[in-house]
Amino acid sequence: MCAVQIKKQAKKYDAIIVGSGAGGGMAAYTLANAGLKVCLIEAGPNYDPAVNSSQLKPAWESPRRGARTQFRPFGDFDGCFWGWNIDGEPYTNAENSNWEWFRARMVGGRTNHWGRISLRFGPKDFKRKDIDGLGDNWPISYDDVKPYYDKVDKLIGVFGTNEGLYNDPDGIFLPPPKPRLHELFIKKAAGNIGIPVIPSRLSILTKPINKDRGSCFYCSQCGRSCKVYADFSSSSCLVKPAIATGNVDLVVNAMAREVLMDRDGLAKGVSYVNKEDLQEYQVYGRTVILAASACESARLLLNSKSERYPNGLANSSGVVGKYLHDSTGADMGGIIPALFDRKRYNEDGVGGMHVYTPWWLDNKKLDFPRGYHIEYGGGLGMPLYGFSWGIEKLNGMFKVKGQQKEAGGYGASLKEDYRYFYGAHVGMAGRGESIAREDSYCEIDPNVVDKYGIPVLKFHTQWTDYEIKQAKHMKETFAEILHSMGALVTWGGDDGPHNNYGLHNPGVIIHEAGTVRMGDDPRKSVLNKYSQAHDVKNLFCVDGGQFVSQADKNITWTILALAMRASDYLISEMKKQNIA
């Protein structure tokens, strides 16, 4: 018997979707509910938060007390399989490039553990070139996407408040949770220096919205994924109900190799390697929808070369892989002496911040072109690995119960210190918009393949002065807010020009976007304004790849809205028989 066989499936689907995260899950859900037959291919194993979440496990049920591992970079209880390093699936960086590529391998992808920060792009975010001359405008406007944001709000659920902010549009919100104590301190301190702090907008159900999903019970562990489906994960909220229609075949542990083409230059299916039996498979469909993540989708297109498409599929423009960009990120932490020795109560709240700061300044008056929002943390959180690490740098700086002690120490006195400082820490993180640039890109590395023999990506990404100046501004802002609340900086205060003001490497914030971008001009974009390839009309891309720019907002809510919009368009094109 031959060691490797290619197994061709006889069934022909209406759509083959590659990837089951936000984009793929929404496409599967929308198409399946319209009665289309869907094959959903996922590179990782099945995952159902109701069964597989670590929710409510106490610290001691992890031998490493929740510390990170290669398998879970956000900690041993985090609801995400893999991350920046997957065994046998390398990627490379060109000299001076430092992209850090995060990949989830599981049904639902990164949505199982994400921050649930669900922000609509605003009218300005689709037309940034009109404002500052940089990058490109989207081929669509806020008005095109607004009906889909509304539908996503209703279908999935998001809490927040209507504030009437032009570029942070109102939505259809569930009630937000009240601020925690440190968040009241932040709100007051930031307000005193003119920085707005408003209720956060997270896709967590503070009220029930349907019979299939529970409502939040305030354990703060959304990052582990929710057993009662009270927050949004694609696995629980989209893939599961999509499968329940009977119209979806889910294929797990299936690593897509390439998009298959017919003689007319149309997509006819997808080939993949089954990670369990290591055999090669082919599935066929009327359309192919890529939702494998911005970079994986670009990789698939670039690896789908043929005589007809020597630069890769849907790449007559040469744009596939280009304009790769991530959110910027810089952080700082401090301690609030007013909160020392505070009263204990259950302050877990929802998974994440109850308040945040949307971008509040005018970039015309600043030396960097795009904005950022601020996320906040702190409070009486669960003690996990790293609890009070570095107390020797803290306990000599303050009087403990009126007594000045020597830094460090041990014994009953040290135990008193741990209790005294617990719950007084606060952290802030800026997440900003970078400029999508043609010279920030990924391509196929000619020399390296992964363990399945699939050529891997090589990255060429660097920050520019714009992002570095933005990070500097973040740091100055954080220091001001901390100062305004009487807090002392405990970490992130030593950053400066020597390290780009603590600006994280591109990729670290895990908002990869831009590699399969949309546009009206087929010479400068891969997709049209309905996420459909200019070159191949039965090929779509519905993940972050299609983004022209990514705003100072987290991108998931827009991925969901655009995936729903593209799916509606696809259904209508099929009805009109524009797609056979």
Partner: protein
């Protein structure tokens, strides 16, 4: 699904690991889920199970090293009138595991323990663990206070900082440690905002807007 059903289902799933959404809909399934507890490792990937098993099957510290770690851990976190000691919370076992999981700690820990023994052998004629308690404390006092330790004790200070941090992390991430520090979360509840007496203590109040817009629960 309403809240009561969610919590009932959650109880089933966290106790048994069974499938809860079915349980919400059907009391019969709830009983079945409870009767057939799923493995407590349903949240683990196969690769993780293999990795953790491999680490648990290995032994890093020698028995003399473990004895010293136990003594140091109980000097750092002794029993007091609030909670038990580091060894009550099995901190040495945690340290044994964590240095295998984070190999970057292996040399600082092994070398630091050896440094400590050599100091004690030279000063007192015995390795640390065999010194009487007063000598152990005298030695620890030389390395426990980074700002006043003598320069020739710097390596010992670095070791003791690591030992203090590992001990504290190992202690406060146990049930004993959570109780000591007063962490009362990790349980289903209704977040109704900061308690009134705490708001008053810090001269804080929710705005009318917040009270009107935010989710509230009756205090019954």
């Amino acid at each position: 699904m309403d809240r009561r059903d969610s919590l009932k289902a959650l109880l089933v799933t966290t106790v048994s690991g069974g499938v809860l959404l079915e349980a919400c809909k059907n009391p019969q399934t709830e009983k079945e889920a409870a009767a057939k507890p799923a493995a407590n490792d349903a949240d683990r990937m196969e690769e993780e199970k293999l990795h953790d098993k491999k680490l648990k099957d290995e032994t890093f510290f020698k028995s003399e090293e473990m004895a010293t770690i136990g003594i140091l851990a109980d000097i750092i976190i002794p029993k007091d009138n609030v909670s038990g000691s580091a060894t009550d919370a099995k901190v040495p076992d945690f340290i044994e595991f964590i240095v295998k999981d984070m190999p970057e700690y292996q040399t600082p820990m092994r070398g630091g323990l050896r440094w400590l023994d050599l100091q004690c052998l030279n000063r007192y004629g015995n390795p640390f663990k065999d010194c009487p308690h007063n000598q152990q404390i005298e030695m620890v006092d030389r390395i426990a206070y980074p700002n006043k330790a003598k320069p020739d004790m710097a390596q010992g200070v670095a070791f003791f900082n690591l030992m203090r941090n590992l001990t504290a992390t190992g202690f406060y991430t146990t049930e004993i440690g959570w109780k000591d520090v007063g962490y009362v979360g990790n349980t289903p509840n209704q977040w109704n905002g900061v308690p009134d007496d705490v708001l008053k203590q810090y001269d804080m109040a929710y705005t009318e807007k917040e009270l009107k817009e935010c989710v509230s629960f009756s205090k019954a």
